[in-house]
């Protein structure tokens, strides 16, 4: 079956592989330390590791969109901000 209609490119394939690896990593983390690491963070929300990953990914998407809208490509700086944001979410939220 040809998948040419899906119009794959290397950058988008790498992006989805990273997402899949993140999900696989979260699964392994959960198997090693069950319970989801639930806690109440600085926002007053009860979050698990999965919630924190979701907040990280969603926030990172908006950081990238804001960067593209205000400054334009390249987006390395937005990626850097997203990494810092993700670390902060996993540490404090």
């Amino acid at each position: 079956m040809s998948l040419s209609w899906m119009a794959w490119t290397w950058p988008t394939a790498v992006f989805f592989v990273c997402i899949a690896l993140a999900l696989a990593g979260m699964t392994i983390w959960e198997l090693r330390r069950p319970g989801g690491g639930a806690r109440r963070g600085v926002l007053g929300l009860d979050t698990t590791r999965g919630d924190r990953l979701f907040i990280t990914l969603l926030g990172s998407a908006f950081i990238h969109l804001a960067w593209l809208g205000l400054a334009g490509p390249p987006v390395w700086a937005a990626l850097g901000i997203s990494v810092i944001y993700g670390v902060a979410v996993f540490r404090w939220v």
């Binding site: 209609w5 119009a7 490119t9 988008t12 998407a61 969109l65 334009g72 490509p73």
Partner: protein, 288 residues
């Protein structure tokens, strides 16, 4: 201590759903992501463009305008439908035969397919042959939703209010019916008036259902397509071109698949963000 039995084979039971979601959601979503980084002129030939379409959409006046119209439309219908729905629910009888009659009447607009609602209102509001159009013009008010932007907006909002206020009514009514009589008796003993009963008993008890009503109406109105498309086609000009109509125009009308894919992903992220915020609010209230 009771040991918990874990059976991982239960995951097999959700495998069909996972496969279904993969085919109807994940694969199309991945394809849209792929399209959003490329240009195509058909025939499965693509040219990589990087973030060009995202930047183009985010800085385009057309996107800002349709996004603004979408926000205004959603804000207006929420500002009308939520208070109106609560008011109607408060006025409905809680028991007896008329309660059933009211519930059936309220459910009727929800049963009508969206394209039929658009077609009905189109005919109903036509200035030359429609009952509403002729009546409004007969009163000396210049009304023509096919040519006048204000008329088009009023008609679109009225159509949505007619179609969807019932949903708010039914949810609010369910919330009201769940309030035990003891609350009303206590309020009566305290000499509370109708406003005090509403403010301190009914409204707090309806909070959860109203949150769900706001969420549902926000999501539905933010993704509205069929009804305004059938009613006005996004016109006159672009005055009722909301986000989804604009998206379809770009994707199918102009065959700009790259920008349309970028636009749809931005649209999706906004909807996802709002959905998550509402979900968090609802869950936090439930925990309390």
């Amino acid at each position: 201590m009771i040991g918990k039995t874990t059976n991982q084979r239960a995951w097999l039971l959700v495998a069909p759903v996972v496969a279904l979601v993969a085919f109807n959601a994940l694969i199309p979503m991945m394809t849209v992501v792929n399209y959003s980084f490329q240009e195509t002129f058909g025939d499965n030939v693509f040219f990589f463009e990087g973030f060009k379409w995202y930047q183009q959409v985010l800085t385009s006046e057309r996107f800002h305008a349709s996004f603004g119209r979408q926000l205004v439309f959603t804000g207006v219908i929420l500002a009308i439908e939520i208070p109106l729905g609560v008011a109607i629910a408060l006025a409905m009888p809680r028991s007896g035969p008329w309660a059933s009659v009211c519930l059936v009447l309220m459910a009727l607009p929800l049963l009508i397919p969206w394209n039929v609602v658009g077609a009905m209102w189109n005919i109903f509001a036509l200035p030359d042959i429609g009952l509403l159009g002729r009546a409004v013009n007969g009163m000396g008010i210049a009304y023509n939703f096919t040519q006048d932007p204000v008329s088009a907006w009023v008609t679109t909002v009225a159509m949505d209010v007619w179609h969807w206020t019932s949903l708010v009514v039914l949810l609010a009514y369910a919330g009201l019916c769940a309030i035990p009589d003891a609350y009303y008796q206590a309020a009566k003993i305290d000499g509370a008036g109708a406003w005090a009963v509403f403010r301190h008993i009914e409204l707090p008890k309806m909070k959860r259902v109203l949150t769900i009503a706001i969420l549902l109406r926000f999501m539905d109105s933010f993704m509205i397509y069929t009804e305004p498309f059938v009613l006005t086609g996004g016109g006159p000009g672009n005055t009722t071109t909301f986000l989804s109509i604009d998206l379809v125009k770009a994707a199918l009308g102009q065959f700009d698949l790259g920008p349309a894919a970028a636009m749809s992903l931005i649209y999706f992220l906004i909807v996802l963000l709002v959905c998550y915020v509402f979900f968090t609010v609802v869950m936090r209230d439930e925990e309390k």
